[in-house]
Symmetry: C2
């Protein structure tokens, strides 16, 4: 039998959790694919992500708001995706409980 | 304003199409992220993909069946994903109309 295992991105979503839950779905030298489950978390006041990698991110379930350093806000509903270039500072202003994200980080 | 554009992966799905429709959502030297819309297409009889890149693939809408050279069949429903290592020969035996795939190809 071919050694291949399917998994489901909507499996094992907690009813709530103190912190976001990140799982790595695939990983290589050049790319990291993550499932992120948010259950209402937001970025700390005044905090911005400033990443070394480009990020493709899609909301698969739920709803979120990402904002940028200049105040631009983007609401993401199911199926909405963004390409966030490396070092483009951004933060998470809102997440529904739950929000299922798929994120691809790459050089 | 921050130069960022959201798009929706479920937008502009044709009612039907002769061929699968592939759109590149993100692209770099190391990774290519594609949306693939199938509307019932399958791989030609006897054909197997034999890819130079690893592929992470998830069915976001619809249903599909992928099979492998040894006859192993994997049914993918909404949210199911596979990591297909490079050169692992595989084919598409079935797609619903429509099937929305997100595929990440990487070295």
């Amino acid at each position: 039998m071919t050694n291949i295992t399917k998994s489901n991105i909507y499996a094992n979503i907690p009813a709530s959790a103190k912190d976001e839950i990140t799982e790595i779905l695939a990983n290589s030298k050049s790319v990291r694919i993550e499932r992120i489950i948010s259950t209402g978390q937001t970025s700390p006041e005044g905090f911005f992500y400033d990443q070394e990698e480009n990020e493709f991110v899609i909301v698969l379930k739920g709803k979120a708001v990402i904002s940028f350093e200049d105040g631009t806000k983007v609401e993401l509903n199911e199926g909405d995706f963004l390409n966030i270039k490396k070092h483009l500072k951004h933060r998470v202003d809102f997440t529904s409980n739950p929000t299922v994200w798929l994120a691809v980080f790459f050089a």
